[in-house]
Structures are given as C-alpha cells and as structure tokens.
C-alpha cells in the first residue's frame, strides 16, 4: 500500500496526534476526577474521594427542573427542525422557485453564524411582535437555528439516494404522498435519525441563542451559567459527568445502529460532507 508511505519517516506525527488527544481530553478528565474530589474543585492532587457532590446534586431541585426544561426544549426543537428541515432539503434538491439561492443561504446560515446574532435578532423580533419570552421562545429559537443541521444532513443523504426507487414507485401507481412516506422517508431514515440525535444534543447544550430568549424558566446550560457566575462547585462537575456518560451512551447506540445498517459509522462526517455539498 503506497498510501501508507506518505510521510512515514515523520516520527512526530503520531506524537503530535497523541498530544492533541491529551489536550482534548485533559479538561474532560479533570472534570470527571474533580466531581469525586472531597475538597472542592482545584487543588492538586485530588484528595478525599467522595460521592457527596452527586448526593447534593440529586437533592438539588432547580437543577432537575432545568434538566426537564432542557429535555422538553430539545424534543420540541427536534420536531420543528426536522419538520421544516426535511422538506427544506427536498425543496433544495428537487424544486425550483425564485429566491432559491437566497433561501439556501438563509436556511444554512445559522450553522456558521455565531449564535449571538440569531439570538438577538429573534429577541428583537419577539419584542416587535409583542411576544413574552418563555420556554416557547427558546424552542422556536432552537428549532429555527437547527433547521440548518437537519437540512444539511438530509440534503447530503438525498445525494446518495437511489432515484430509480422513487420513479418506480410513481410508475407503479403510488401517488406522491405514498411515495414520500413509503420510499423517500424510509430511504432517508439514517440521515433523519442522525440529524435528530445531533439536533437533540446541540439543543441540550445550546446557550448563545437561549441566553437572549430566556423567560422565567431556565434550561440546564443557563442554570449552570447562573451558578458559575456565583462561584464554582463540584456539583457542576457531577452533572457534567452524568451528561457526558449519557452522551457517550447515545454515541454507542448510534454507532451500532449505523454499523448494522450500512457497515460504517461516523457522527459528524455527514455534517462535514453536508457542509461541503451545500456550502
């Protein structure tokens, strides 16, 4: 294999990669280790290992309220962004209308635009139309900003779609509606599930847009943010560790699902490819 030859005498490459991994994981490892540290965050070496922070966390009402809010927001955001993003990808693929180029740019813009601009624009919008800020405005903000993710992923999936199947379905007398539900959507299943999972986790973590659209009820990142401003506590490490473990489980499930379906895996490649296709 000559592709193995590339830079093979450059011994520094594996070491460089190792160093990058160390850099990427140092904060995560620190975070997890200090969630068990009896004497608070910081201080080397960690001492007095304890589960106290987790005990405090489980007794902490406001945190769990914000977790429930976040999950609610994330579910609703997934529904909105898939509900709009899947047709948007289909429209970009097979529909022609005036302003299509502008539409494509607009729908994908939040993928790269700093969240503060979308958040502020929506804040001013809600103020102009006199809507009070609440979880609903956050849902609308997340749902709208994350349409970009759904559209990009599903559009990339459409490029790999076997068009003949849709034609066959139409030729055999199925109407467009039936073809859409029985052929198009099942074929895009993996892109849609992948986009949904990604949107769910992105929404759970979103803070820049939520920051401006928050009403009385906090989402988890905003609850954490509020506490960070008052000082640091290992409780934050504990909740972060729990979320990290859940995220890992999601990745493993998704990985299995994809490997089972098409023998390869990868979260994010889709998105990177999608960005390349649509960008």
């Amino acid at each position: 294999m000559s592709s193995e030859r590339g830079w093979d005498r450059s011994r520094w490459l594996p070491w460089h990669s190792l160093a990058v991994f160390a850099f990427l994981y140092l904060p995560i490892v620190t975070l997890i280790v200090y969630s068990f540290n009896g004497s608070g965050v910081g201080g080397f070496p960690p001492r007095d290992l304890t589960l106290n922070w987790y005990r405090e966390l489980f007794a902490d009402g406001p945190i769990w309220t914000s977790v429930v809010n976040s999950i609610l927001v994330a579910f609703a955001a997934v529904l909105i962004s898939l509900g709009i993003g899947v047709p948007a990808a289909l429209a970009l693929d097979r529909s022609h209308f005036p302003g299509k180029a502008l539409f494509r740019r607009l729908v994908l813009l939040p993928l790269i635009l700093p969240g503060i601009i979308t958040g502020l624009s929506l804040l001013m919008f809600f103020r102009q139309v006199d809507v009070k800020l609440s979880l609903a405005t956050i849902i609308l903000g997340h749902g709208t900003a994350l349409i970009s993710v759904a559209t990009a992923e599903v559009f990339a999936g459409l490029q790999k779609l076997d068009r003949a199947q849709e034609e066959a379905s139409l030729d055999l007398g199925a109407n467009y509606w039936q073809t859409f539900w029985r052929v198009t959507i099942p074929n895009l299943r993996l892109s849609i599930i992948g986009a949904g999972l990604l949107i769910f986790t992105l929404s759970l973590d979103e803070i820049a847009v939520s920051f401006f659209l928050i009403g009385r009820d906090n989402t988890l990142p905003l609850e954490i943010w509020g506490r960070l401003r008052r000082g640091i506590t290992p409780e934050i490490n504990a909740i972060s560790t729990i979320i990290f473990v859940f995220s890992l489980l999601t990745i493993v499930v998704w990985y299995r699902l994809r490997v089972a379906a098409e023998g390869k895996a990868g979260i994010g490649t889709e998105l990177a490819e999608a960005a390349a296709v649509t960008g």
């Binding site: 460089h16 804040l123 467009y176 820049a208 979320i243 999601t250 998105l271 990177a272």
Partner: protein, 282 residues
C-alpha cells in the same frame, strides 16, 4: 417527475418559516441599527446613521473588534496546527485504528461547550489544578496569575472547543482524495514530502478553508468564554453587544455592531466559498 402540488408542499412551509423566523428577524436587526434610544430609555423609530457613526467615532468599539479578530485568528491558526496533522495522520497512517481515533476526536464535542470552558477555568485558576500541580512539584512557589483572566485563557479554551470543528472538514477532504493519485505520485518518483506538498495538501485546501472559517467565525462571535475566563483584557466584541442589550440598554447601538458582525461573517463565507471553488478537485 414531481408534480406542482408536491413541489409546493415541500417548498412553501420551509420558505414561509425561514422568512418569518430568520429573514424578518435579521431585517428587524437591520432596522433597529438605525433607531435611537431616548434619554427616557425608550426606543425611538427615527431613522438615522448615528449608531454607525458612533462605532467609528468611539475608539473602544473598533479596538475591541480588532482584538476579537486577533483572538479569532490565533484560535484559527492553532486549530489548524493541531487539527491538520491529526486529520492527516488519521486519514493516511492510522490503519485499523482510524475509526476509533475518529470517534475519539468527536467525543469531546458531546461535552457541553459551557462545561468545557468551565473545566479550563478550574484548571487555570490561581488555586486551580495546574497552579497547585506546579507548586506541588516545586516548579513554582506562587500561582502564575497570567493563566486565567487573560486573552491567553480565551485563546486556549476556544482552541480546545474549535479544534474538532476544524478537524472535521479537513479529514473529510483528505478522505475524499483518490488514493490512486497518491500512488501515481509515488510511482512517478516523487518523495513522500513532494507527494504531500504537491498532491495531498493542494487537494485538501477546500477542507482547510472550511475548517479555518468555522474556527475564525465562531470564535469571533463568542461571548461566554471571554466572560468566564477573559478578565478585563480578554473582552471581545460580543461582550460589548451583550452589555448594550443588558445593563447599558442601547439596543440600537448593539444592533449596529451585530449587523456589522453579520456582514463580516457573510463576507468571510463568500470569500472562503470562492477560494474553495478555486481549489476544488474536479
């Protein structure tokens, strides 16, 4: 092959939604930037360009914008320096462990942005992990204060956050390079170094541009890392916007700054797209 009504059904809802909740809000942002705040703190719809004049007249806005661009540029360069060789190693040399390593790059993306910034704060603080470690092994005998609440801390944290984002498009572009091109280069007698610089690197430029744009634009607009770790010398342009929308209560001026950022971002996207097209492998 698709009927008019089918096309209308897939086109109208997204177009209406995107118009109502993206186009109109951005337009409102634009309008706000021409309005004013009265001394009684009410927003006055009197159209004028005072906010834009203010931006160029008061030094702090441009200075902060340039400082933010400096921070974003440093993050971009560091992310490329960390991300490119990693992507190259994974794509060409990692062999069977490629898939595992790939997942290892992605996993940190699933740890909350805020939490990772916070983790750096606990590492860099004066009684944080790093300073106590340095004192524990007697490398220093007092905490190093430049670590936290400095542009350094902001650059480090943002680099940590955006390196995987930079890595992804570079890796995708490397993976798309037909391996027989690389083999042809070897067979024609090019050294590994020549093969890299003349074949592999030019073909990966679209990925590099996409990754660099991601890192630069997203760090430019960041306001949480500077608030958490930046201190007074690490303030970025978005922090000014946040304060104008909060305590300073001058939405129109904040809107003017945001609109300039929006223009800057869209301009950079066009630039990077044009360059990507120029370097695209056909």
């Amino acid at each position: 092959m698709f009927s008019r009504s089918y096309r209308a059904a897939i086109t109208l809802p997204p177009v209406l939604w995107v118009t109502a909740f993206l186009l109109v809000p951005y337009a409102i942002l634009f309008c706000y930037s021409f309005w004013l705040v009265s001394p009684e703190q009410a927003i006055v719809h009197s159209w004028n360009v005072n906010n834009y004049r203010e931006l160029f007249r008061v030094g702090v806005y441009l200075q902060t914008l340039f400082r933010s661009m400096g921070i974003a540029a440093r993050v971009m360069i560091l992310s490329l320096v960390l991300g490119y060789p990693l992507a190259y190693y994974l794509s060409f040399h990692a062999g069977k462990r490629k898939e595992l390593f790939y997942q290892l790059v992605i996993i940190p993306l699933w740890v909350s942005y805020l939490v990772r910034a916070y983790a750096w704060k606990t590492i860099l603080g004066s009684d944080g992990v790093l300073n106590t470690l340095l004192q524990y092994v007697h490398l220093t005998n007092h905490p190093l204060s430049f670590l936290l609440y400095s542009p350094f801390a902001v650059v480090l944290t943002l680099t940590h956050i955006y390196t995987p984002f930079t890595f992804l498009p570079i890796y995708a572009s490397l993976e798309h390079i037909p391996r027989n091109l690389v083999e042809a280069s070897h067979d024609l007698g090019a050294s590994p170094r020549q093969t890299f610089w003349r074949v592999i690197f030019p073909l990966s430029i679209p990925g590099v541009l996409a990754g660099a744009t991601f890192a630069f634009v997203l760090s430019l607009g960041d306001f949480l890392a500077p608030l958490l770790l930046g201190g007074p010398s690490g303030i970025m342009i978005s922090n000014i916007v946040v304060s104008l929308f909060g305590a300073a209560y001058n939405w129109p001026l904040g809107a003017a700054i945001s609109f300039c950022m929006l223009l800057l971002v869209v301009g950079l996207l066009f630039l990077s797209e044009t360059l990507e097209r120029k370097w695209a492998y056909q």
